[in-house]
Subunit: 450 residues, 2 copies
């Protein structure tokens, strides 16, 4: 391994130059800027690392790049690792807030500043450079890449490509695009994501708003929606929908152990967000809640007169947006159905429920040997206590699409180069060069151990 570490060190400056070149090529999906130029550059970089490229563009949207690297003579051709990356970046605006040019990839204070450098250009370069290092003795396994160009706009056409090209992308395990070190400088690797059931509830009681003098004899859309919402969740945060928690599994002791090491602190969050009320849960419970508990959030509600001053009116219509984060074994369609049944059963059959977005929860088998390799490598490279492998994000992501099309038993783990203040999606995005070097060491070792 010392041999590899030396190779990484001697390769670092070349890797940084390649990353800078990649960062200087904008590829902005939201604005349709530089897509084909970015693809050409990736083709060149894959070829440099000894791989083959197929540009898939027959199903609409920005092309999906498939890249493949054959194992060496001593390698195992039946063992396949899939890397998921994206070549698109967020728009750089507002430009005036950048200290260094967003497509300059300048190095200052040990950091590289560029739009997309952390999310997730550095990780593609780390992976390709690690392969280049290992190519000198031949790769131990087959390596595939799925590099899409629409992640920053919600991956609208990715499912079609995954569906049609499932055989091409199939693998034994998948490394997800990106991960970061948290504020305690601990790398948070993640093996799953919560699901999402995003609903719009609408109450409509009349064709027109009505003078509020008629309140004694008139239904009020705002009152009906408020009463319906209040029936869904108690003031002490318990979701009251019949059967909502039925499919939620109690976390195992080993998962609870992981939660205990999850670095969420209620006091810090309270200060960061300027919270005005007491946190619904204590720090200890908060960590488990973030990882294991489903939620129901009112993201927005609107009805009637909301400008300044007084208007005495009975609103004819009221709308609320409701977001449920789901944990493994919950199903967004099933949750939407249970909410519908609950409303019907509680006298709110007139309130319509429309699903605006949904996403299934995903969690890798936490006992899969692949996750063992992930952790062992992290212990060796970052050190014990300097990494965590979380069972899932508190949020939602498209891992479930890979599970759906490429097989639900394929473990997926997010590993990466980011850090806690890397400002992804914001001005002055950066990575730290020492994180980049560690990530390269990690990846060389990780692929070698696989």
């Amino acid at each position: 391994m010392v041999e590899n570490e030396n190779q990484v060190s001697s390769r670092l400056s070349q890797a940084i130059e390649t990353l800078q070149r990649y960062c200087r090529q904008p590829g902005i999906s939201a604005q349709g800027v530089g897509i084909s130029e970015t693809i050409d550059l990736i083709k060149e970089m894959v070829a440099d690392a000894g791989g083959q490229v197929k540009v898939l563009d027959d199903l609409g949207g920005n092309p999906v790049i498939y890249a493949e690297f054959e194992p060496g003579p001593q390698g195992n051709p039946d063992k396949t690792l899939l890397f998921y990356n994206h070549y698109d970046v967020q728009p750089p605006e507002p430009l005036e807030e950048w200290i260094y040019p967003p497509f300059g990839a300048e190095i200052h204070d040990g950091k590289i500043f560029a739009r997309g450098v952390s999310d997730n250009k550095a990780d593609l370069i780390v992976r390709l450079q690690a392969i280049s290092v290992l190519q000198q003795k031949g790769l131990p396994i087959r390596i595939k890449f799925l590099i899409e160009g629409e992640e920053e706009i919600g991956s609208p056409t990715l499912p079609r490509y995954l569906d049609k090209y499932a055989t091409l992308f199939r693998a034994d395990a998948c490394v997800w695009e990106w991960a970061q070190k948290n504020a305690e400088e601990k790398l948070e690797m993640v093996a799953g994501a919560k699901g999402l059931c995003y609903l719009e509830l609408t109450s409509e009681t009349a064709d027109i708003d009505i003078h509020s003098a008629y309140a004694p004899v008139t239904d009020n859309a705002a009152w009906r929606l408020v009463q319906a919402l209040a029936s869904l969740k108690s003031a002490d945060h318990r979701i009251l929908v019949e059967g909502f928690y039925d499919d939620v599994e109690k976390p195992s002791e080993s998962l609870k152990d992981i939660a205990r090491s999850y670095p969420y602190d209620t006091a810090a969050a309270s200060s960061l967000y300027g919270m005005k009320t007491t946190s619904p849960v204590e720090t200890e419970d908060a960590r488990a809640a973030l990882l294991f508990e489903p939620t129901m959030t009112i993201c927005g509600i609107e009805s009637g007169y909301t400008a300044a001053g007084v208007k005495t009116v009975i609103p004819r219509r009221a709308k609320a947006k409701l977001d449920c984060r789901l944990v493994p074994r919950q199903n967004p369609e099933d949750i939407a159905r249970k909410i519908r049944l609950h409303l019907d059963a509680h006298g709110f059959a007139d309130i319509s429920v429309e699903m605006l977005s949904s996403s299934h929860p995903f969690r890798s088998d936490m006992d899969h040997p692949f996750l063992g390799v992930v952790k062992e490598t992290a212990a060796a490279v970052y050190g014990e206590g300097k990494y965590a492998l979380l069972p899932n994000y508190p949020g939602t992501g498209p891992m479930h699409l890979f599970a759906q099309y490429l097989g639900k038993d394929m473990p997926i783990v997010a590993i990466g180069t980011g850090w806690w203040d890397d400002r992804i999606h914001a001005p002055n995005e950066s990575i730290r060069i020492r994180d980049f070097e560690e990530a390269l060491q990690y990846m060389v070792r990780f692929i070698g151990e696989f």
Copy 2:
């Protein structure tokens, strides 16, 4: 009385000409148009009817006109009737929707069309012309007028004038500006108004909106407001605030009789407003509810993301506007205090309550002899079954200001010339000439009987 009826008939054309002249003079408080010209015209009309005018303009706002008519030699100088009118009108816009010019006062199909003709120029002319008729034998009582110029913008300076000039305006009874025949051609006279307690409730849980992945550990302003509101009123329309109904009097049998004749029909209202849900009450109960029951209405609610599509966010703030209509003996300050105490007691001490507007309920003593004269005159002029004397509006009005400054025992009754389709505040406002003639007959007889 036949003598007076003949006098009215012979006076009708002169009364119409005077009304047309008055309608051709715009006096628009919202636009500051024609105020002094309108005052000059009223001074002239009062003088023509044999009265004295004082223009009160020392307290800001548009001047308040005080007019007084002395009783004749056989009259009672200690008995005083006060008329309340306003000389300002709503803006005429949108002009393109008028069939006839808004300040033309043209006569078509037995109607006079003009901005303000119903609200409430015809009533001032009816009152002055009735006085002119009665002056030929001398007035039986002292008559005063309060004619303000800011009714259409909410009477902002009227309380100051009422306060300072209370002695000047004091009277034994008051006739309110305006009343109308309903769709059953029954004149609805009204002897009171509901009060109003208009509140804004604000929930604030953080300084910034928060990613909804943090829902397990974060309070949500929208949820808190929804839960707080739901604690105030049940889904079956019962207000749950402790003590809210304490001061509500059960209506007497005679008031219930009046309610039975109140022409509200749930089916007609349902069709008019396009109501989507069943009315909270049956027609029979609806009539009593409109007159005697206090209400609590959400006029508006707003929080978080309300535009199209999906945003997964925990709103930091939520606001609702809440309008309570109050019945006699309820007090807006007391109601606001009870809502505050209720929120505190139910765990919502963090939700702020601000009073944006308030108005006390008012109801004349329904057994006062003055109301007997109102009804007897109506029976004689309009006929039995062709009028109703309601104890109050379902809505709110400033009668309570007169009670506050001029004495709460002074009965107030709204009597007038309007009709159900007179389109006050809208294009093509009109009165019907036959209603104008009847109103003039009524007023001559009414003052004579007083």
